[in-house]
């Protein structure tokens, strides 16, 4: 071995040490949060994943490798019904949220320079109120003798109370709309706000009318905001269980309710885990699909 190559090797060794300590430092930095996630998220997830393949019944759980839990889920009509409900309600709520939230965001970003802070604050205040209090407030508002029905009755618009207002999918969508609106408005608002006025002016001078500016400039530029809203809102809505339990009634039974009852009342942890992973898998596929369709990779 020549001296030169020896020296090179030594240097390599020093580089290695250097990199090692840097790596160690980095590890120490992310260590506490990582341990936290590991202990309280990934480990339980792993346990649940394993459990979903075990033989499982009422308060029994016995190690095995079987697809029984998954088969049971896909062959039981009320579970399939709950899955369909889940996607109908979450998708319906998402559509309603965008139909209501987009115009609010658009108005805020384009026409309300003096009012935007106030309006955003008003949007956020309800989020600060306890979640259960809000749901119960809705229960009162939507009930047979709630303010909506009484108002409509007193005005003579209807002859008897609207029944679909409470304990229905509509009720769940209405409450979700209220619950998630700020999370839809704010990302879209920020995306629209980021479009400089000169971009819009350039489009105008190049021959775009107001509608065309929206269609060809503002709408495409708000796609990242729409995508952020979707991820922020649609995924938690798929896992929702409190809202359907309190205002949804049996016709709005969602997967979240099934999972909850498997763990808390039916005592079938294996089945509960299996349903949880089905939901997770479908969610991941959906998000991947939306990323592809919206072409958000390009914009991020």
């Amino acid at each position: 071995m020549t001296t030169a190559s020896l020296a090179r090797q030594k240097k390599g060794g020093r580089h290695f040490k250097h990199a090692f300590f840097r790596y160690l430092g980095l590890t120490l930095n992310i260590f506490p949060p990582f341990i936290y996630l590991l202990l309280f998220f990934y480990v339980p997830m792993g346990i649940m994943f394993v459990m979903s393949f075990w033989k499982s019944g009422f308060m029994t759980l016995e190690p095995a490798f079987t697809l029984d839990n998954y088969i049971r889920f896909f062959t039981t009509p009320i579970y399939i019904r709950a899955m369909i409900n889940t996607f109908v309600i979450a998708t319906g709520s998402m559509v309603a949220l965008i139909l209501v939230g987009y115009p609010i965001a658009y108005f805020l970003a384009r026409y309300a320079p003096k009012w935007e802070n106030l309006i955003i604050y008003l949007l956020i205040i309800p989020v600060e109120i306890n979640f259960l209090v809000r749901i119960f407030a809705w229960k009162i508002a939507l009930g047979r003798s709630g303010i909506i029905n009484s108002a409509l009755l007193n005005l003579g618009i209807i002859d008897e109370p609207l029944k679909f207002l409470l304990y229905s999918k509509t009720a769940v969508v209405i409450v979700m709309l209220h619950e998630w609106l700020p999370y839809v408005v704010i990302p879209i608002y920020l995306a629209l706000k980021g479009v400089g006025p000169e971009i819009i002016e350039a489009a105008r001078t190049l021959g775009s009318g107001k509608w065309s500016v929206f269609r060809h400039v503002l709408l495409p530029l708000s796609v990242p905001g729409l995508f952020a809203s979707f991820v922020l809102v649609y995924i938690p809505m798929l896992g929702e269980f409190a809202v359907p339990a309190l205002v949804g009634g049996p016709s709005a039974y969602m997967l979240g309710n099934v999972i909850e009852s498997q763990f808390l009342s039916a005592g079938n942890w294996g089945l509960g885990s299996a349903i949880g992973f089905v939901l997770l898998a479908v969610t991941l596929v959906l998000v991947a699909g939306v990323i592809k369709v919206a072409g958000v990779e390009e914009l991020m």
Binding site: A202, G209, S212
Partner: protein
């Protein structure tokens, strides 16, 4: 100038923002195919005028005519006028091809026509092969070229350029200046070019309108703006100048003699067509490159001359700039070509007593 040659007429246009009068009763006309420049310091109202021509603002008073048609209240998309913005304003979600094709698509051009035109224009600005790039992948100069052809592709009757090169460094700016002039020549499109850089306006424009505080002070070709400034502001803003204040001592035709309180008497010439009275306060403007500097008292009959002391000198490549103190607190600037061999220029240094002299023909008498 026959009427159908007028591309644009601005007639008594005023625009206020609250109590501020940004554009004050401005009128001018631009001929078809002209390279017209609006020149003035920042805040003088140039952009405001441009935006009213483009339809992004509506005047409070007055009218805008495009080829004889009153377009004062037409929305921007209905005017055959395009704008090149200082910050490019490219569409970030569209690639270069689609950015350039934006105008044609709104006009429903067939695809093959769009392809042909976009390709042609990209070649013209030396950016062939850039079709698929996104604005964020381009340099400032490249962005501005794309913004330019995006505005040109539909062959508007009028192209408005708002300090289009302002954000670029000197080298790129100079090469783009030449490119822009070529493109304007080739396309024959009428250009209105806004700038606060007098040298840019002098180099590029057929005619210049000098603005200050919402007013147009003077309109003319670069030579007349430079040689015959109508007032102190224009004289000072366009290039450098030495201003000597005094009163008219005597008038003989265009020749005016002024008496200054501290520097003696000088012989100058009045503006073409202007008249001055004896005793009237006036200003004499002399360009630094028209003044000469020497150590011996010059033997040149008829020249204006004055003695002083060199306060400072700055070598700037091909020339030297001298600052000569001619009275306490009063200095003159003189540019001398370094190649000049006619005197002892090289030996002149700080604190030397010198003489400054210049011809009466180069001493413009300004009354405003």
């Amino acid at each position: 100038m026959s009427n159908q040659e007028i591309a644009l007429e601005i007639r008594n246009v005023t625009k206020r923002f609250g109590s501020l009068i940004a554009v004050d009763d401005v009128s001018f006309e631009i001929e078809r195919g002209e390279f017209f420049s609006l020149l003035g310091p920042s805040g003088s109202g140039k952009t405001t005028i441009l935006r009213m021509i483009g339809g992004l603002l509506t005047p409070d008073q007055g009218h805008v005519f495009l080829h004889g048609k009153d377009i004062t209240f037409d929305p921007p998309e209905k005017r055959d006028v395009n704008i090149v913005f200082q910050n490019y304003a490219l569409f970030p979600h569209l690639n270069v091809y689609e950015n350039v094709a934006f105008g044609p698509r709104r006009r429903h051009w067939p695809d093959d026509k769009i392809r042909k035109e976009v390709t042609h224009l990209l070649e013209m600005v030396h950016l062939a092969g850039y079709e698929e790039k996104y604005p964020r992948q381009l340099s400032g100069g490249e962005k501005q070229r794309i913004a330019l052809i995006r505005a040109l592709i539909t062959r508007p009757q009028l192209l408005l350029l708002d300090e289009p090169l302002g954000a670029l460094d000197l080298k790129i700016r100079q090469s783009l200046q030449l490119e822009l002039m070529d493109i304007q020549d080739e396309t024959g499109i009428t250009f209105i070019y806004v700038t606060h850089d007098q040298s840019e306006a002098l180099t590029m424009a057929d005619r210049i309108a000098v603005m200050d505080k919402g007013h147009i002070l003077q309109i003319g070709d670069p030579k007349s703006i430079y040689e015959q400034p109508h007032n102190r502001f224009v004289a000072h803003f366009i290039g450098n100048t030495n201003l000597l204040e005094g009163k008219v001592a005597s008038v003989a035709g265009g020749d005016v003699r002024i008496r200054t309180p501290r520097l003696g008497e000088f012989q100058g010439r009045g503006l073409d067509g202007a008249s001055v009275q004896t005793g009237q306060p006036v200003t004499m403007s002399v360009r630094p490159e028209k003044m000469h500097i020497t150590r011996q008292e010059p033997e040149r009959p008829g020249y204006n001359k004055i003695a002083g002391v060199v306060e400072d000198l700055i070598y700037v490549g091909v020339s030297t700039e001298f600052i000569v103190r001619v009275a306490p607190g009063q200095t003159l600037r003189i540019f001398a070509q370094n190649m000049s061999r006619d005197d002892d220029l090289w030996q002149i240094t700080w604190d030397d007593p010198v003489w400054v002299y210049w011809r009466p023909e180069h001493s413009l008498i300004i009354t405003e």
